[in-house]
Symmetry: C2
Subunit: 339 residues, 2 copies
């Protein structure tokens, strides 16, 4: 990990301050190209904005998507012992094996859209600490997870999806959202993998306890990530920041991924400018969380699985948008009369 | 065309009455399989319904999508001479060449999702008659177009998108919608390729004239198609019916494709049970039209291009849904603890 450009949260914060911006020349060139393609103005709707955004972050007027990468991070949570999930904690490790053997939803999505998949189990035998009693992670723990995420991103990738698996992590995500954006815990917790009404009340109680036990998390992106997050959430944040450093656009997944991403957005305004929201999760509070970070989802199909599955499904949307932008003929090339 | 099982509209109507239904055993087997996959119940949301629906129409519990087909039909409209489009009528033929040379949006979509594309220009040198003065097509003309559509569907296709190109055809689609479902012409016409406010008023006027000149179209699916449609709309209807006969599920495109499909739905209740709506077009009345045929769109990204482009983009959604359904491991196979 010695080649990671941060070894403390303060250094990670410093790094967020100096991350690259989109290439405005490429944006302008892409926008000009878009206006000449054989279609009525704006007839490809949001696909046009997506293609121009993608071009800007790749720094090329007519880019291609050749090497999408999906990274899935898995972590175990101290709060899982409180029974906040419909599934027992051992499922995290079992699902990592399922990912490695090709049997999960994310494997099928990656095959469908030609994405490379890598899976990282983060210290699964050592759950994070129970955040109702103090911080989930020490600074060295959260840094290690951020570094795993940072190093997981391929230099050659041209699109990134960061997914997660971790029994208990919708509760962690709800706690982060509540710490960052306020409001009642009840409004941030949801059914997750399918808890009962009682389970839902327990999740809200756990979130409230977590906020009380971790006052430094309130409104502080990186402290919320450390105190209320999990290793897989920190790894997602590290991967998103790493993608920015490498000019790789990102598709955000559902509630948990968005909570991890929101820690970056609160830590540094604009830290998610290179990211789009892949889908609106059925996890109830995802829509509000997306609004808080100013993102409008590409898809809304009722998914609430995690693993990066919804974002991976949206890879197809980006591929279609960029293929049209870069592959279509102009009016002049095709000899078609303009309006 | 001698092998087409209809030579009159009455025969086509008879054929619609006896089309195959979904395979209920396959549906049940697919539903049972879905319940055993390594994910929380319903966590893939609408993708689960889509996969089960697709399995039912293919008659297989764990189907694959290997050969999606996109057919694009192009036709010219007598009413185009009235100036109802922002583009001149010669653009229809120019765009057919663009399709054939690989330069249009639909070409890029087909490449992205591995779909076979075929393009059919329908008697482009002879626009349909101006429907403000009487029927757009004679019975023999509409039958010829229906037969072209019927014969365009590959026996080996496992998913069909039927797209269109035809300067003036949003006006034709609006007239069909108004004839089939009532309401004011103003509420069915839209900007199409980008007409002005004056153009919009002209479109409504043309629709009203068309309805007055073709009283047999009111509430009559096949008469509306003949009197107010165009050759490309009739070909779409023929292709959708042909797909049903061959147990090939269909993804509907935007406003014009949906208007053509609606003619089938009005002619025969359930005639679109093998079809899903690929997307919600930015053409204003598309949402109401979809509600009238009981379809909820998969995507809503502001497209309004036609060519089958929105439906082709939704091929990726179906591919993802079916890949998860048929490729995921069960809890037992993966050794994952169920809830």
């Amino acid at each position: 990990m010695s080649d990671t450009p941060f070894n403390t949260l303060a250094e990670f914060q410093d790094l967020l301050e100096i991350q690259p911006q989109e290439n405005r020349d490429a944006c302008q060139a892409a926008s000009a190209r878009n206006g000449q393609l054989t279609k009525p103005p704006s007839a490809l709707g949001r696909l046009e904005d997506l293609a121009i955004w993608y071009a800007g972050w790749r720094g090329v007027a007519a880019p291609k998507i050749k090497s999408p990468q999906v990274v899935v991070f898995a972590g175990n949570h101290g709060i899982a012992a409180q029974g906040v999930s419909a599934f027992p904690p051992e499922v995290t490790g079992q699902m990592v094996l399922n990912f490695q053997h090709g049997g999960a939803a994310i494997n099928q999505m990656c095959k469908t859209f030609g994405a490379d998949l890598s899976v990282h189990g983060l210290d699964l035998d050592h759950p994070t600490d129970d955040f109702t009693k103090g911080p989930a992670m020490s600074e060295s723990s959260v840094i290690a997870a951020l570094q795993t995420g940072w190093n997981a991103v391929d230099d050659d990738a041209d699109l990134l999806v960061a997914g997660e698996m971790g029994i208990g992590n919708t509760t962690s995500a709800a706690a982060i959202a509540c710490a960052l954006f306020g409001g009642k815990a009840d409004n941030w917790v949801g059914r997750g993998t399918g808890v009962t009404d009682e389970g839902l009340a327990l999740k809200a109680h756990v979130v409230n306890q977590g906020l009380a036990a971790n006052p430094t998390a309130a409104g502080n992106g990186l402290e919320a990530l450390r105190c209320l997050g999990g290793r897989e959430l920190a790894a997602i944040a590290g991967a998103i920041a790493s993608a920015r450093a490498k000019s790789i656009p990102v598709i955000l997944d559902g509630f948990i991924c968005t909570a991890a991403a929101a820690c970056l957005a609160v830590a540094r305004d604009g830290a998610l400018d290179h990211a789009v929201a892949g889908h609106l999760s059925a996890e109830g509070a995802h829509g509000v969380l997306l609004k808080n970070i100013g993102k409008q989802p590409l898809l809304s199909l009722g998914l609430r699985l995690g693993e990066g599955s919804g974002a991976a499904l949206a890879i197809g949307i980006l591929q279609g948008a960029v293929a049209c932008h870069s592959g279509m003929a102009t009016f002049a090339e095709a000899g078609v009369t303009d309006a």
